[in-house]
């Protein structure tokens, strides 16, 4: 295999003349603790990490190139496959960018539902991150305990969108479909069950002595270094920096709801876990403020050329039939311009930079994905620590290969 030889040569260059007793260890690409397909080549001296080199790109699908070929609604399915643990957050980030470019005002009902789904997705993401972190460190029951509640959220998403993992939830100007009648009551039930479960999880896993000693003070980064490395989201807040796109650059109705930004102290793996725990509680607080107030009204904006007309009108009206064809064949019309819009995804600041030349597809799409910026700090986070601690560090960063490679 040519590729393998090249890679071996490359590492030979970087790690040549290893001192006696030093070893090269391959962590990944296929390792249960790498959260996808990532490779870390780690130089160790006994149990101590001397240097590392990260190799990414194993799940690269060139979504940015696909974005230049697909129309704006079609690209939505690519965003599903970025952070696949909380897909609706990616969907919403992309659609908000396009709507901003087209200057579409969506009905309040749509924004309410989008916010509720966003926060549910954040909870799903954090459950996986914290739960799997326990699994990586040898504690399985914590994940199982919360997975039941994650499954409940998945069932709501399945009823709402028809899919569990690849939700493709929004459309430019609205939602794919309206919410179903039991939507509100089911979410209330989920939250009612989740609240005590989170406390139990905290008692079970985070207050566990072994978990504590394996994560406290491990993989920490000071606030200044975290900012220098472009950290965002829970990993930055764990270092004590209270930045949150929802507060700093509010989108949707985040400026109208009450919630706090939890911060940590030393940015260690334990702090990241605790920040995520608290964020889940804050997300539930946001949902509780919104759930009873979902206003009545349409589930998409009344803007021609953006939304497929209802089928009965398509069958009986020439104009509607033409709209239907135009949207399917040519997509939505986005005026020429360049926009950068960021949202607070579960993992941090998810930004979309879109260059439109007024054509069917964007001229350029760039995704600022939070994982990409975290992972480049990995060598600095693990150098000097124990080999076993690299696992705790990587799990706490919540590196998701689909988002990292994009």
């Amino acid at each position: 295999m040519v590729m393998y030889e090249k890679t071996a040569e490359h590492f030979g260059k970087k790690f040549k003349d290893l001192p006696e007793g030093h070893l090269l260890v391959n962590l990944g690409p296929s390792h249960p603790a790498t959260h996808g397909i990532l490779q870390n080549v780690i130089q160790i001296d006994g149990e101590r990490v001397v240097d590392t080199e990260s190799v990414i790109g194993y799940v690269h699908r060139c979504f940015e190139k696909l974005g230049e070929r697909y129309d704006y609604n079609q690209f939505l399915v690519c965003t599903d496959r970025m952070n696949y643990v909380s897909t609706p957050l990616n969907n919403i980030g992309w659609i908000l960018t396009v709507e901003k470019m087209m200057q579409i005002q969506v009905p309040e009902r749509v924004t309410y539902v989008r916010m509720i789904i966003s926060e549910l997705s954040r909870i799903m993401d954090h459950i996986i991150c914290n739960g799997i972190m326990g699994v990586d460190l040898g504690a399985f029951s914590g994940l199982l305990h919360l997975f039941h509640h994650r499954e409940n959220i998945y069932q709501i998403l399945e009823k709402l969108t028809g899919a569990r993992l690849t939700t493709t939830f929004c459309r430019v100007g609205g939602m794919e479909r309206d919410i179903y009648p039991e939507f509100q009551s089911e979410i209330k039930t989920v939250i009612k069950g989740l609240k005590p479960a989170l406390d139990e999880f905290q008692d079970l896993l985070i207050r566990n002595k072994i978990f504590n000693e394996r994560t406290a003070g491990i993989g920490g980064l000071s606030a200044d270094r975290a900012i220098a490395y472009g950290f965002s989201g829970p990993n930055l807040r764990a270092a004590g920096v209270p930045w949150d796109v929802r507060k700093d650059d509010p989108y949707m109705f985040y400026d109208k709801v009450d919630f706090d930004i939890p911060v940590g102290e030393d940015g260690s793996a334990l702090d990241r876990t605790l920040v995520r725990m608290e964020e889940m509680r804050q997300s539930m607080r946001i949902i509780e403020q919104l759930i009873d107030g979902i206003p009545e009204g349409p589930y998409h904006a009344d803007v021609p050329h953006t939304f497929l007309p209802p089928k009965d009108r398509v069958y009986h009206n020439m104009e509607e039939l033409i709209y239907h064809f135009k949207i399917i064949m040519h997509g939505v019309k986005v005026p020429p311009g360049e926009y950068y819009m960021s949202t607070e995804a579960a993992n941090g600041e998810l930004g979309f930079y879109v260059v439109s030349e007024g054509e069917k597809s964007p001229w350029r799409v760039h995704v600022r994905r939070p994982c990409f910026w975290y992972y480049q700090a990995f060598p600095e986070l693990v150098k000097g620590g124990l080999l076993a601690d690299t696992i705790a560090t990587m799990s706490s960063l919540n590196v998701i290969a689909g988002e990292l490679d994009c």
């Binding site: 190139k65 070929r69 472009g230 030349e357 760039h366």
Partner: protein
């Protein structure tokens, strides 16, 4: 904030600012000469009032067949001190030309610059480790360039197709 920065940059860096295209955008942007990039970035970062201390995004655009020079490297800086105000710096680059790296100013620029080098083929001078990041080491070409065929190398007819495909479409109506 917009006016203050514009005034500051115009007075301090007038010789490196290039004429701007009229772009419909939600960001304040400046086009600057590539040689001056590290100085401008460092000044904006160190300035006590502006304090653009966070590199928000770094990417590039290929304008093949639309504009000269062909590429633009785009930097997005954020100033947490000023209500997270964002500023975009655009650096036009011709084919084969190098852009000075800003890794010494922002460590976070390391991977994004490698990504731009890998996928768009724009080299960065003084980068500590300018190697392919996402594609394998022996990969030929830079896939995000507009003339890189969508179905892989060897299907060059697609280049022509790509440049003309949407030109005559009626989407303005």
């Amino acid at each position: 904030m917009k006016d203050t920065i514009t005034e500051y940059l115009n007075s301090r860096f007038s010789e490196v600012l290039l004429p701007q295209r009229d772009i419909n955008t939600n960001l304040l942007y400046f086009t600057i000469k590539k040689e001056a990039l590290p100085t401008v970035v460092q000044t904006l970062k160190d300035h006590p009032e502006f304090a653009f201390t966070y590199l928000n995004d770094l990417t590039s655009v290929d304008w093949l067949g639309k504009r000269e020079p062909r590429f633009e490297v785009v930097y997005l800086l954020r100033s947490p001190k000023n209500k997270h105000f964002r500023l975009q710096l655009r650096v036009p680059v011709g084919e084969g030309e190098e852009v000075p790296s800003i890794v010494s100013i922002f460590p976070s620029a390391n991977w994004p610059e490698r990504e731009v080098y890998d996928l768009m083929g724009i080299p960065f001078s003084n980068h500590p480790q300018l190697e392919r990041l996402i594609m394998p080491d022996n990969f030929i070409g830079h896939p995000l360039r507009k003339d890189y065929p969508l179905e892989g190398p060897g299907q060059d007819y697609l280049i022509e197709d790509l440049l003309t495909i949407h030109v005559n479409e009626d989407i303005a109506g």
